[in-house]
């Protein structure tokens, strides 16, 4: 007889264990409660923007949401490349009607963390919670930043929202054909057309369910009162200073049962965690420390258990590929991970100088891309905490090809020849003109920060070598974002982090119909568009991935992006921190971690205890 793994907490545990032994419940799993003395203290480098899943795409909002809420699916913590697994879904969904219908069976006995809104009663998660939560993405009142995840995809959902807009209020009770709770634990979603990447949406923190009663009670302040079913609950939210999470007493608890991938640190992680109950750590203390020096010193002082995103002060802790001897002597270890992201510079295809598809325009763009040495950017401005990407799809993402080489490699000589060949003549002052004799000046938009200034200088010097005069125009990120969205920037540097680990999430940034939405260069190539549309119709397969490769090559030939870098994120860990590993897509690792209190308490807290 098997009993579903529930938390048998504190005083109750021993008695029930004894009963289980007496009655011979061999497969009865007794899961230890998390130790409330075990605290993970860490820092984030910017403020969150609240925890309403539909409202914020802020990285740290997503991190906390992931720790507090549970989406239907998640990723295997250790598997590389990333692998989707069920979370509150009992199993992976059944997909029918040639990829149009998804049916999820939701686990029974999953409860939301306690909150005043429940009046002391336990509140079970049901399929209707997902229906309500997904409808909110299209409700204009919430102006969701994640609307695009569902926009135009689910049968009847947009029509429901349009009806609400007309009448001034959406009707959450209204039935939507494509989004239904078939019964208490069954959720059925019907798509308008097949979307083989739609499954990833159900693993995103944005799609964790919210409690309707809580939304109705807290209104727009729901972001400060998020209630979830995951291992942690929001205990204290001191905006701008600290977020405290505490183990959710209603979390069902699951065994830590992951297998090592072929990454070197995995064997030790698995050895230290295998068989333990998730979560082990009772509390998580998230401090907001914006400056890297402050963050590193707080870690070195013993105020933090681990530290992350300190690449700009690498000289303070790095020695070669390791750590400075004094840190090694203190038992501190370093773990590197590479973000599933890429930076890039785009050129505007609607601009009179950089835009167009004629040969001389292509030559100009490619010459500019060939003039810039991304390796230098990675080594200098990025302090060797980045790897250069050869394609638009970064490593760790499906569709990445390790042996792909961009045709626009750094080669100023070839760039000069290309410009000479296509009539960009040099004047007496050394600057080139356009083939029709007009001035050739390129405007790079950038932000008024020190690091942006360093990139500007690199570009300026690079283009000067091929006779192109660069003008740097400074503006706030908001201004640049707006202009980019309207295809008004000639050239701008940007970055994209994977929402899900499939190349399509990056390639859509160059899809023509996405201009004025996410395709800021307004590149609109019929060849590329056709390949993209063909790829959408295929599941993950060598055939589809070949299409991805062809698309990147087309971008390369047309000179769409200067492919940038993926940042290396080094984490430093004190002894006693167990189970820590950065996942390319998952944001919150705390529930998979443990703290060895004996080792932790032996850390010389150098001067100050927090």
């Amino acid at each position: 007889m098997a009993v579903s793994p529930m938390y048998l907490r504190r005083a109750g545990i021993s008695g029930i264990t004894a009963l289980a032994a007496i009655f011979g419940f061999a497969s009865f799993e007794v899961l230890a409660a998390p130790d409330m003395n075990k605290v993970v203290r860490m820092a984030i480098d910017a403020q969150d923007a609240g925890f309403d899943p539909v409202l914020s795409s802020n990285l740290y909002s997503g991190t906390v949401l992931e720790a507090v809420g549970e989406s239907l699916l998640t990723y295997d913590y250790m598997a590389r490349p990333s692998k989707l697994v069920p979370q509150v879904a009992e199993a992976m969904p059944t997909v029918e009607d040639e990829g149009l219908t998804y049916t999820f069976k939701i686990r029974k006995g999953v409860y939301f963390a306690p909150d005043a809104v429940f009046n002391g009663k336990k509140r079970e998660l049901v399929a209707e919670d997902f229906v309500y939560s997904y409808k909110r993405f299209l409700d204009p009142v919430w102006r969701s930043q994640w609307k695009f995840l569902f926009d135009g995809k689910i049968v009847g959902l947009n029509e429901w929202a349009a009806q609400g807009e007309k009448s001034g209020r959406v009707d959450y009770a209204a039935r939507i054909e494509g989004l239904q709770a078939v019964d208490k634990y069954t959720l059925r979603i019907k798509l308008k057309k097949p979307d083989y990447n739609f499954m990833y949406v159900f693993a995103m923190p944005a799609t964790v369910p919210v409690v309707r009663e809580a939304v109705e009670k807290y209104g727009t302040d729901i972001g400060a009162h998020i209630i979830g079913t995951n291992a942690y609950m929001l205990k204290q939210y001191d905006r701008g200073r600290r977020i405290l999470l505490e183990a959710n007493p209603y979390y069902r608890g699951t065994p830590w049962n992951f297998s090592a991938s072929d990454e070197p640190e995995d064997a030790a992680i698995v050895a230290s965690m295998k068989g333990k109950t998730i979560p082990q750590v009772g509390r998580v203390e998230i401090n907001i420390i914006e400056e890297e020096q402050s963050k590193f010193l707080a870690f070195a002082n013993g105020q933090l258990d681990y530290v992350y995103r300190i690449g700009n002060i690498a000289e303070s802790w790095r020695e070669g590929k390791g750590l400075k001897p004094d840190l090694v002597a203190r038992g501190i270890t370093r773990l590197d991970s590479i973000d599933a992201e890429t930076t890039f510079y785009f050129l505007n295809f609607r601009d009179p100088i950089t835009g167009g598809y004629t040969k001389e325009k292509v030559a100009l763009r490619r010459a500019m891309l060939m003039a810039y040495n991304m390796e230098v950017e990675a080594a200098t401005v990025r302090r060797s905490q980045a790897i250069v990407n050869q394609m638009a799809i970064p490593r760790g993402v499906i569709g990445y090809k390790a042996n792909f080489r961009s045709v626009n490699q750094f080669n100023p000589e070839a760039a000069n020849k290309l410009l000479d060949k296509f009539g960009y003549k040099r004047g007496a002052d050394g600057w080139r003109t356009q083939p029709d004799g007009g001035a050739l000046e390129i405007t790079l938009n950038s932000e008024p920060t020190q690091v942006s200034g360093e990139y500007d200088k690199l570009w300026s010097k690079s283009l000067e070598k091929i006779g192109i005069h660069l003008i740097v125009k400074k503006g706030t990120f908001a201004e640049n974002q707006k202009a980019a969205h309207q295809c008004q920037l000639q050239m701008w540097g940007s970055a994209w982090a994977a929402d899900y680990p499939d190349g399509e999430n990056f390639l859509m940034l160059a899809y023509g119909p996405n201009s004025m939405q996410s395709n800021n260069g307004c590149y609109d190539s019929p060849i590329y568009n056709k390949l993209y549309e063909a790829a959408l119709k295929l599941p993950d397969s060598p055939k589809r991935n070949k299409l991805y490769e062809l698309m990147v090559r087309q971008m390369d030939y047309d000179g769409v992006w200067k492919f940038g870098v993926s940042r290396i994120r080094s984490s430093l860990l004190h002894p006693g921190v167990l189970g820590y590993k950065k996942h390319p897509v998952l944001l919150a690792e705390w529930k998979y971690m443990d703290v060895d209190l004996a080792k932790r308490n032996a850390i010389a807290v150098k001067k100050d205890k927090p």
């Binding site: 907001i288 010193l297 969205h485």
Partner: protein, 313 residues
């Protein structure tokens, strides 16, 4: 005096109106469009328009201006566009940490700057005077503040362990006597320089006056001359300077707050500007404008208290 105060309060209304118009038009025309930030990574035209409608920024300017004025009159600036946190909550929770650090900085800095200025003015032209003035000039560079914070934090907090590296606690006393000590020390170390130079000039202006010569001729001690006569007469410009500084307490100190992880208003101001979070910017601007006018009034009243010859008209 009461009629003077009433008149001054009455005069604040058109001044405030001017501030409101200036802030409103500045933000409306050059403040960026928050809709693009709020729309997230991927958005279309309809979404942007929907956000504008909800925020009310696509309404005619006169309507938006009227809403702004109503907000000032009611003191309710709504919620932050970026986080939905009520603006009143943002200000109420962030102003305390800023003041915990900035008020001691202001007081210590003022006392020390006056004393040092008196000292160097007394030995004017000497090597000590010149050396201190050179140090003050160097210290007036803004970038120096960054270096002083970085070095101070590393050496005094991390290496010597005299102070916490960063952080903020739950109680006022813990924050003032534990977490704020180093930020206060560094803030005073840098902020004292310009004031010392300024106050020295004020004091020198007085030292050369005839009444000082007369006081000395009457046989008064140098101590009395400097503290009773010179300082008292130099106090009017010093008070003016202090009162100018007072409203800036409301906008915090971005660098100090950032390096020491102090959850103050300075970080919020910068964030609000970056996010084009107009409700927060509007509220803080209005409060600072009101505080500036009130502190000017307070300065005028203090002039009268310090110097009976001053007539309040």
């Amino acid at each position: 005096m009461s009629s003077f105060i009433l008149r001054r309060l009455w005069q604040m209304i058109p001044t405030m109106l001017g501030v409101v118009l200036l802030v409103f038009f500045l933000f409306s025309f050059v403040g960026g469009d928050p809709a693009y930030l709020l729309a997230g990574k991927i958005s279309n035209k309809e979404q942007i328009e929907n956000i504008r409608t909800q925020l009310g920024i696509n309404q005619p300017y006169y309507v938006q201006l009227w809403i702004f004025i109503k907000q000032i009159l009611t003191g309710d600036f709504g919620v932050s566009w970026a986080t939905n946190e009520p603006v009143s909550h943002i200000i109420a929770t962030r102003i305390g940490p800023s003041l915990t650090v900035l008020i001691p900085i202001m007081i210590i800095e003022a006392v020390l700057a006056v004393l040092v200025a008196l000292g160097v003015a007394y030995v004017r032209g000497s090597l000590t005077d010149r050396a201190i003035m050179v140090i003050c000039t160097v210290a007036m560079s803004v970038s120096l503040l960054v270096y002083i914070i970085i070095v101070g934090q590393y050496v005094l907090a991390y290496q010597f362990g005299w102070f916490p590296v960063q952080g903020w606690g739950e109680s006022f006393s813990e924050n003032l006597f534990h977490y704020s000590l180093l930020p206060i020390l560094l803030g005073v170390a840098v902020g004292i320089a310009p004031n010392t130079r300024l106050y020295r000039t004020f004091i020198l202006d007085e030292i050369n006056q005839d009444y000082v010569r007369t006081a000395r001729a009457k046989g008064l001690s140098e101590h009395k001359v400097m503290l009773k006569h010179v300082l008292r007469n130099a106090l009017i410009p010093i008070i003016t300077n202090l009162m100018i500084y007072l409203p800036s307490l409301l906008i915090g100190h971005f660098l100090i707050e950032r390096f020491f992880s102090i959850p103050g208003i300075g970080r919020e101001v910068i964030l609000a500007v970056e996010r084009s979070d107009f409700p927060v910017i509007k509220a803080i601007t209005v409060y600072v404008a009101a505080a500036t006018m009130l502190s000017n009034l307070a300065a005028d009243l203090l002039y009268k208290a310090v110097d009976p010859r001053v007539q309040l008209k």
